[in-house]
């Protein structure tokens, strides 16, 4: 079973190479992509089952024992996020095939998509700070190329700022790696979690802030989010959807990993809670001002990251469990919303609210797909967002953190308001002429994502219990260290 860990990274990379080798044979490319991403999804589920049954898989690549070698770990937290990411990658792949087959054909889409898959998988399962850097770079480099599928002035402008911001963050990350290595002499996360406790608290606080800034840029938290709504909306829909669903969440995943494993504290972090509240409010206010479906949703990515940081800020089992459930819910719902936005764009050629209307009457199926996702994003019962937000708010009240609870509720209300803005602009109103029809494949893939979101709500009980078991491991850093290095 341990071989699954390197395989979730290696199989997509090999698939990418193979996909280039078969050249312009679309059928073969599609088979390779489906097989590779499908393998990652199955492997992720196997890793999750294994981790949850108490036999967490730890691989030492190359045979060198940790902390000298390259460690890959799929504990419950990593396996949960990897599973939801892989399932969504598969759904968006089907959507992309249905869409790209019809209009702009990009011959190398599949290779890039598989490299992105490998980068996401490596970032999630790595147990080593430098390999985390490599995993992020693989993921981001694939995302740069995917953003410039079309090279019009808009795409070039958006990609410029996206690449520059991410490269600055990478330079800061390298700096953080240098500082960590200087102070502790190791980069293995498990080894670090033992050594971090022994170093000067001031140095530790500095390293904590530096990593928070680095991954704050990647996760788009306040005040480091400006690049996101600028760059995401210009890409083709499947690309934007997968970026929205995965990239920032991987950033949030790493922030949670770092803050619990390396820089653990005993009490709620006021700094993190402040950042969380500001991210929610600024993101949602930005969304209200927009006039384009994809741009509204892009600002909501920022806003929703705030809820994940809020769960982390409590630094308690219940808070972290809620954050884990929230990330899972967001990966699904956010991707689904962008896919619905893409359906609208495919039919009307634009996502501008003031240029479309009446979709409810012309294509009720699109409205039926949008509604559960929108209500879930706002956190209305009985949808998946409600379960995660309820857990967050209960924990906030239990810890007597009333301000952040009030802020999060207000942000949810404003989220609902901006969703009604999309509803009123796109689905109600005067019917506009459609330029085309979204294919059955696109609608079907979106429907699967909606079904997954409803599934999260239906199975909220078992999922919450799983998230709680994952959070118990997170709160006690020695669990992770003992898994990788053996019990001391």
């Amino acid at each position: 079973m341990t071989w699954l860990l390197p395989a979730v990274v290696a199989v997509p990379v090999l698939g990418a190479g193979l996909s280039v080798l078969v050249g312009r044979r679309l059928i073969l490319q599609r088979v390779i992509s489906l097989a590779a991403v499908g393998f990652v999804a199955v492997a992720a589920i196997a890793l999750l089952v294994s981790a949850d049954s108490g036999t967490t898989q730890v691989a030492q690549v190359g045979g060198w024992a940790a902390p000298a070698g390259i460690t890959l770990v799929a504990d419950r937290f990593a396996a949960i996020i990897l599973t939801s990411s892989a399932v969504i990658l598969l759904a968006v792949l089907v959507y992309a095939m249905a869409q790209l087959g019809r209009d702009a054909v990009d011959w190398w889409f599949h290779a890039k998509y598989l490299v992105l898959t490998a980068g996401v998988a490596l970032s999630l399962v790595t147990g080593d700070l430098f390999n985390l850097f490599v995993g992020f770079e693989i993921m981001l480099t694939a995302s740069y190329v995917l953003l410039t599928v079309k090279t019009g002035p808009d795409e070039v402008r958006a990609t410029m700022s996206y690449v520059v911001i991410n490269l600055v963050a990478s330079a800061l990350f390298l700096m953080a790696i240098a500082f960590v290595y200087t102070t502790t002499g190791t980069l293995n996360l498990a080894d670090l979690s033992r050594k971090m406790a022994e170093i000067d608290p001031a140095v530790r606080a500095g390293l904590s802030m530096l990593t928070l800034v680095v991954f704050g840029i990647k996760a788009a938290i306040f005040p480091l989010f400006m690049w996101l709504p600028d760059s995401y909306p210009t890409a083709p829909t499947p690309v934007t959807a997968i970026f929205a669903g995965l990239l920032t969440k991987v950033g949030a995943f790493v922030i949670i990993r770092m803050q619990t494993l390396l820089f653990a504290q005993d009490e709620p972090s006021t700094l993190l809670l402040f950042v969380a509240g500001a991210t929610m409010v600024v993101g949602v206010l930005g969304a209200i001002a927009q006039n384009d479906v994809k741009r509204i949703l892009s600002f909501h990515i920022v806003s929703q990251i705030g809820y994940m940081i809020m769960g982390l800020g409590f630094l308690s089992i219940a808070g972290l469990a809620a954050a884990i459930l929230f990330i899972t819910h967001q990966i699904i719902v956010k991707t689904g919303l962008f896919l619905v936005g893409g359906l609208v764009e495919a039919e009307h050629g634009t996502g501008a609210l003031d240029r479309i209307g009446g979709v409810l009457h012309r294509r009720p199926v699109i409205a039926a797909l949008f509604l559960p996702l929108a209500l879930s994003l706002a956190g209305l019962p009985p949808f998946s967002g409600f379960v995660a937000k309820l857990a967050l708010i209960q924990e906030g009240l239990a810890l007597d953190r009333g301000v952040i609870v009030a802020v999060s509720l207000a942000a949810s209300l404003l989220t609902l308001f901006s969703m009604t803005k999309i509803w009123g602009g796109v689905f109600w109103g005067r019917e506009t002429e459609a330029e085309g029809t979204a294919g059955a494949g696109m609608v079907g893939a979106t429907a699967v994502v909606v079904a997954l979101s409803i599934g999260v709500a239906l199975f909220a009980g078992p999922l919450m219990a799983l998230a709680e078991r994952a959070a118990v491991d997170l709160v006690d850093p020695t669990v992770y260290a003992d898994l990788v290095l053996g019990v001391r």
Binding site: F133, T141, R157, V164, D230, Q290
Partner: protein, 128 residues
């Protein structure tokens, strides 16, 4: 020795930051190059410093150099090299499309910022 290297790294970061704040992508690329060199220098500093090569003649030496920082810097250089090449292609593309490689502001942002004090007619024109 390491103080000089540290000062060089700090200077590279300072100059890099200044260049990144420019509008022209070609300058930003040079700035990013300098900044990542600064980061690479810092990683080099994180090792144990000059000593005997660890595996050349096989005989164990009491003081061996730490090979890990070199390996990390090599990886980092390769990654930065690839992304710099991509950015240069982007700068060229921008030059071919618009005659300049300036990183422009977001048009939609400007449109929304101005929409409160203009009629919808003007807004429509600006977006064209």
């Amino acid at each position: 020795m390491s103080l000089i290297t540290l000062a060089v790294a700090a200077t590279l970061f300072a100059v890099g930051t200044y260049l990144i704040l420019q509008r022209m992508l070609s300058r930003i690329i040079i700035g990013l190059g300098l900044m990542s060199h600064g980061a690479n220098l810092l990683i080099m500093l994180s090792g144990t410093g000059p000593a005997t090569p660890p595996i050349v003649d096989g005989s164990p030496s009491p003081v061996v150099a730490d090979p890990l920082p070199q390996a990390m810097v090599l990886t980092a250089i390769v990654i930065t090299f690839g992304i710099t090449a991509f950015l240069l292609a982007l700068a060229l593309r921008s030059y071919l499309l618009t005659g300049s490689d300036a990183v422009e502001d977001d048009l939609e942002d400007k449109r929304i910022a101005h929409s409160h004090d203009r009629s919808s007619m003007d807004v429509q024109e600006m977006s064209e």
